[in-house]
């Protein structure tokens, strides 16, 4: 129970925990004040039964107190401008500051979604440029920017596939095949669309098993959802054949494009035979993760499926942009407006900055970094499915378990002590003790070399002092947290000092 800054005990430089905001301040203190009303008095009373019994009990702090609180809290985070963030499947690349500056421009940020097209010409042009670029990158014909995240894109994509089958009267097509290496959002998105996910066991090489696929498709097949490169960082080399099988069976192919960072300019989802793809702009296109969002998960689709994209559509005629509400058509809609527009503007900024060649280079270097790191880690970690590694790879700490009795979790936690964020662990589920490493292209060789040195140092520690790992981390603001207790007796909002210990 220590909030050192409050008491007269020494501080921990940069690592001081903060009492909850709700325990700070004093009634009557003020930060923000409202503009005075300089008009006539008017009667603002409301009927008593419309009013709350008591005002919401918010803490009262000064502006400086608020800034100190959040600045000191911020210091407790790892972040990209602090150090390596090799989270597999998350593409934690540098988030250019230029993106932020552009998105903050008043001419974008202050637009209301109910304004007329005439007030939006620059914005609509920008969004059209982005749609066109994403279509070029994926090889598709049409794009919707509405989904606010990857999972949201999956959901819209499934709605599109569903609408396609419904339109053609194929109401029995309710099953969506999903490899067992898939991200959890895939089956969840399918279910929410009213379709049924069906797991497909991966082959021993970590890729799709054609025989299993052939056995699974049928008249009930709505489609298949494939992450390519998959979550093991491998390209589904049989993808063209997979597409043939699924299409022949009357299904459509959905690509989870979360791993697009591996193949920009190198391969196009449309050429692979997909019908729909979603992209994570907050991965491939450098928009920040913000501690959990907002991201954006646009989808691109074939010409044929374009008619199921949410309205309004951006049209351009002789340099004038308009919004077509598609009146009378029955299209899905998954967001009150047009999605995370500000995130889209960041992604466009990134695409313009890099250009076509630059984007291709992004993938080349992302893949080079991953392969280099994979190679250098040989002998320290066991790499699974090394052959054909693209932007990320799966290692495991299983021999550490046998040799030193430490688990993947322990290795990951110890990395935190070295100023490195832990890789993704225990995912994908099909690899035991998985450590999923994605360095991204914005990391330098020196940083990768240091990562290798750190793993070597930790391995030496594991050998000589395994408890150091089991009780890690040691240098972080807090040590391992009792997650079991948190789930058992959930304390989800501040009601007073902790009785959770």
């Amino acid at each position: 129970m220590s909030h050192e800054r409050q008491g007269a005990t020494p501080a921990r430089w940069g690592a001081d925990l903060q009492t909850s905001l709700f325990a700070k301040g004093r009634a009557g203190r003020r930060a923000t004040t409202m503009p005075a009303w300089r008009g006539d008095e008017v009667d603002v009373r409301l009927p008593a039964d419309a009013l709350r019994a008591a005002p919401a009990d918010l803490p009262s702090l000064s502006e400086l107190e608020v800034l100190r609180h959040y600045t000191l809290l911020s210091n407790l985070n790892h972040h990209i401008e602090r150090g390596l963030y090799p989270l597999g499947s998350c593409t934690m690349k540098y988030n250019p500051r230029l993106n932020e500056k552009v998105a903050a421009l008043s001419g974008f940020a202050s637009l209301h979604p109910e304004q007329d097209e005439a007030d939006l010409q620059g914005l609509l042009c920008a969004l059209k440029l982005l749609q066109d670029a994403l279509c070029e990158i994926t090889g598709f014909a049409a794009c919707s920017l509405q989904p606010a995240a990857g999972a949201h894109g999956e959901y819209l994509g499934m709605q599109v596939i569903r609408a396609h089958h419904l339109e053609s009267g194929a109401t029995g097509r309710t099953e969506v095949l999903i490899p067992d290496s898939a991200h959890g959002t895939n089956p969840a998105s399918v279910v929410l669309t009213g379709l049924q996910p069906r797991m497909l066991k991966s082959g021993p090489d970590g890729k799709l098993d054609l025989d299993a696929l052939r056995a699974a498709v049928g008249p009930q097949t709505a489609g298949i959802m494939i992450t390519n490169p998959n979550t093991l960082g491998l390209f589904e080399t049989d993808i063209v054949e997979v597409a043939r099988i699924v299409h022949d069976a009357g299904g459509l192919l959905y690509m989870d494009g979360a791993n697009l960072n591996a193949i920009l300019g190198k391969a196009k989802p449309a050429l692979m035979g997909f019908d729909v793809v979603h992209l994570n702009l907050h991965k491939t296109f450098s928009t920040p993760h913000g501690g959990g969002g907002p991201g954006a998960g646009p989808i691109c689709v074939t010409e044929e499926l374009a008619r199921f994209l949410p309205p309004p559509l951006i049209r351009e005629r002789e340099g004038v942009y308009s919004l077509d509400a598609c009146v009378g058509e029955c299209r899905p809609s998954v967001h009150a407006y047009q999605g995370n527009t500000g995130v889209c503007l960041r992604a466009l900024t990134y695409i313009l900055r890099l250009g076509g060649d630059g984007l291709t280079r992004v993938s080349e270097r992302a893949v080079l970094n991953a392969n280099y790191l994979r190679k250098r880690l040989e002998g320290l970690l066991t790499v699974r499915h090394a052959e054909g590694t693209l932007h990320e790879f799966i290692a495991t700490g299983s021999d550490w378990k046998d040799l030193y009795g430490v688990r993947t979790l322990d290795i990951a936690k110890r990395m935190l002590d070295y100023g490195i964020h832990a890789p993704t662990i225990y995912f994908p589920l099909i690899v035991d003790e998985a450590i999923m490493i994605e360095p991204t292209e914005t990391e330098s060789k020196e940083t990768l070399d240091r990562f290798v040195a750190v793993v070597a140092a930790i391995r030496a520690e594991a050998e000589h002092d395994p408890d150091l790992l089991r009780t890690a981390p040691h240098t972080t603001p807090v040590s391992r947290l009792d997650e079991a207790a948190a789930a058992r007796r959930p304390d989800l909002s501040w009601l007073g000092p902790c009785n959770c210990g």
Binding site: G28, A31, M34, G39, V42, V44, A50, A56, L58, P59, L67, N75, H79, R82, N95, P96, E100, V102, G107, S110, L111, H112, E114, Q115, D119, L120, A126, A151, H152, E154, T185, K266, K268, M272, G290, G291, G292, G293, P294, V334, Y337, Q338, G339, R353, L354, G355, G356, D357, G358, L359, N371, Y372, S444, K445, V478, E483, L492, W494, C498, G501
Partner: protein
Amino acid sequence: MPYTPHTAEDIREMLDVLGLESVDDLFRTLPAAVRPPAGLDLPSSLSEEEVWRVMSNLAALNAGQDELVSFLGGGVYDAAIPAAVDAVVSRSEFLTAYTPYQPEVSQGTLQVIYEWQTFITRLTGLPVANASMYDGSTALVEGIRMALGRTGRDAVVLPAALNPRHRRVLETNLASEGVTILTAAASPAGTTDPVALRAVLDGKVGAVVIQNPNHLGLIEPVAALAAAAREVGALLVASVNPVSLSLLKSPAEYGAAVATGEAQPFGVPCGWGGPLLGFLSCADDLKRLIPGRVVGRTVDHDGREGYVLTLQTREQHIRREKATSNICSNQGLNMARGTVYLALLGAEGLRELGAANRVRCEALRVILRGIAGVTLPFAGPVFNEFVVRLPRPAREFRAFAREQGILAGIPLDGFAGCGVGDLLVAVTERRTANEIERYGSVLRDFLETC
């Protein structure tokens, strides 16, 4: 090349370690058929200065609410954002961090989420809240799902005066899940008619939705609607403007099981409608059905208080197809905006915010009531938004006002019985007495010059 650190030497050394000749060798597993023959047909790289020019020129082609005087609302409002909000969220520590899966190096983000949850519970009165939803519409979808999940029923009643943009999203979502959507008609007063609600209620209805204030700006008869829902064992799902909770009854006070809404006015730029900030809170017995991320307080091995993502067995990364929702990334940084915003307001500031909206809204109503031919068709109380009925098409007035630099409102023609002359007008704390007067005089001019 921008953003990547590789020198030619680096690449050479790395390829040497790999025993490869060229970077192309790394892509040898990609079949020829999937490769674009001519690379990407996109313009070549621009310098930062050039990109800035392109994008700022595009921004300059727009005219937003900083330039024009906005009376637009309907779920997204021209609210003031204190500079301190941007100062916090522009810190790389919050901006570039991932979802806090490693709590030992994410206490900053985790505590902010916990504080957001606390703010939301204090505003709605409901004890549990999550880390944010994409927007108000998807928050409402998820709220309904929770209520249906809890009651095991498959019909929902929506009010006629529900935000039509939210309704559209609900329809997409609920229809494909096989949920029956019923509508409770509005009375001539513009609010949901409890009698009409009762008329559609039966034992199949698991969720009754209310929106307060509703899409005509009117404060709903929440107690009566809640009572009706209770009678059939349906749960009340309230979609509320959180700014209005500065003054209005909290959802908990009228018995809502779930409260959702759009918290954009809490420090988030309008941004043409995104990214926004959906919030969701619920009664304690629904907490294991809540979608998305939830943070709990616990202790570390040394007894220090700390925060973690919790109740994760609800979530897609653990439960996959059995998850309560598919949501993964949410609106994290906007949630941080909302948290800092509310921290800056405090109890007193929130009260003042409500009062500032109220006085401006009523001042405009007084002016409009005084203009011949113009009426306020609904008599009931409002918070900061209302319908004005013009003797001529609202769209024409909107265009006329735009010429004078005013964004006059949202035409309601065809919505919930509204006619061609009806306009939804919102008045936030940013509007000055002058601007409000000018609204009146522009409308007078419009009516005279016809």
